[in-house]
């Protein structure tokens, strides 16, 4: 039956290469390892051709990743602060979560309002479209001027991006839901509040989850950049200080740790998402 057929050429290719004995998952893992190995090998080769300050070897960066995790003397030297990469990561991660959270709440409320109330949609749609065209980083000087170096200044970009993305996604999703599920719910006698709670909100969960994932992915970058430009704490601060000192291994170590955290969070989001939309086809 069609349902059991392969997902296209990849699966049949796998079977031919490997034979029926090796499970696809194991093969994926092996291929992944080989791929990573190639990248690290290439990195190592390249680093022998360049100066340490331009591209340190992978093992040097690896050392830097672990020796600077809890304490970072080079950082304390310049900033008088104690703590290492882990402390910076914590600050940055908190900010990203707060930023995405706030942006999500604001964006959800706005998108729902626009999707359900004609007047609101008419008023806000041009605003949203305009905001959506603004390259997010342009907002940074404004945010710094308004909020200085306070925590809000760093999360500001994340909040802005999340708000715009979520509001747009939610508004469109609500538009899709209306006219089909809503009619059905109305014909079953559901009052408007129940329609919102029991029908509209669950129906848009898949879209919102997609948006959340995108906002997190972008959020790490925006947060790091905002921190580089004016924070007292966080991974961005560390990156900026290490850059000033030309401490390239420590700089790369910080970036790699940030990437690891971002990947882990994304993985968690995917798992949560899977469960949250386990009913969908």
């Amino acid at each position: 039956m069609e349902a059991l057929a392969s997902h296209g050429p990849t699966q049949s290719v796998r079977r031919r290469l490997v034979g029926p004995g090796l499970p696809a998952r194991l093969l994926d893992l092996l291929l992944g390892i080989i791929g990573l190995g190639v990248i690290i090998g290439g990195w190592w080769l390249l680093s022998t051709q360049m100066q340490a300050v331009q591209l340190p070897a992978p093992d040097v960066v690896w050392d830097a990743m672990w020796s600077n995790l809890w304490e970072m003397p080079a950082l304390s030297y310049a900033t008088f602060q104690s703590g290492g990469i882990a402390d910076g990561l914590l600050y940055t991660t908190e900010n990203v979560f707060i930023g995405v959270g706030l942006g999500l709440v604001l964006g959800l409320a706005t998108g729902l309002l626009m999707g359900r109330v004609r007047l609101a949609d008419g008023l806000l749609e041009p605003v949203l479209v305009a905001l959506g065209t603004v390259p997010v980083l342009i907002m940074l000087p404004f945010i710094v001027t308004w909020f200085g170096t306070a925590r809000l200044a760093q999360t500001g970009l994340v909040i802005f991006f999340t708000f715009v993305t979520t509001a747009t996604v939610v508004r469109n999703a609500v538009g899709n839901v209306a006219g089909s599920y809503e009619q059905s719910a109305a014909a079953l006698g559901a009052p408007r509040s129940m329609v919102l709670r029991d029908v509209v909100l669950p129906a848009i969960v898949p879209e919102v989850l997609g948006a959340v994932r995108v906002c997190f992915a972008a959020g790490w970058g925006f947060e790091a950049i905002a921190e580089i430009l004016g924070a007292q704490h966080g991974i961005g601060r560390i990156i900026q200080t290490m850059g000033t000192q030309s401490a390239t291994p420590e700089l790369m170590a910080s970036v790699l740790w940030l990437a690891i955290v971002a990947v882990v969070v994304d993985g968690l989001l995917v798992l949560i998402g899977k469960w949250a939309i386990r009913w969908s086809e």
């Binding site: 089909s180 009619q183 109305a186 014909a187 006698g189 029991d198 129906a203 969960v205 009913w279």
Partner: protein, 269 residues
Amino acid sequence: MEAGSNRGQAGATSDEFPAIQLVDVSMDYELEGGETVNALKNVSLSIEPRQFVCVVGPSGHGKSTMLNLMAGFFSPTAGQVLTHGRPVTGPGADRGVVFQRDTLFLWKRVADNIGFGPKARGVPKQERERIVDSHLKLVGLERFRSAWPKQLSGGMRRRVAIAAVFANEPKVLLMDEPFVGLDYVRRADLHEVLLELWQRSKSTVFFITHDVDEALALGDRLIVVVDGGIAHDVELPFERPRTPETISSEQAAKIRLEVLSKMHLGGGV
């Protein structure tokens, strides 16, 4: 007409009035280009309580528009739509709708879908459970109480949709080609379920279909809608239960011929 109210139905019933009434109803749409489409032209129609009315006609000629007006999804450009003597102002639980597309709430399990209407009406939990259970049984899906809609086949989902609507005990049931795309066997199955529920609930049914045979198998009355108006309106005096022989009878063949010719005459395209 019978005196006395039917127990358990949403709101007080009055058998003096027709269950559905269209009084000189017209419906115009404006298209993007600025053209106006006259979907319904001065239609008048009266459906008595507990009638099973089937509606056939070419696509795009106004059948669904009629149903949507009865459901209260929009208001007519001119004329009045009444249900049991009262004007229709919006959708409500007294007029259940089964759509052509699948509108089961995918994020609710089968039982919660069926219980949605009663929940909306404020029915307490225990009573709700009872309603859900009985309707599951009526449509033969007791084993699938906790299933997600995605786990069900198309035919089973239709059954859930019907159960969900009947759980609200609507006085009027509006169905827009609900069984399209299903094969003959499944459809026969669903016909049985539908007819059983209709007779138990004593509700009025307005059933749109493409398939003249389906109309003959189900309805008390057959209306042909062509070009925004009613081209033919005929009683189907056959006995129930309807069998293949019923549909193949001479009388049935005559009616079929009439209907088909009406559709050809008026039908553009």
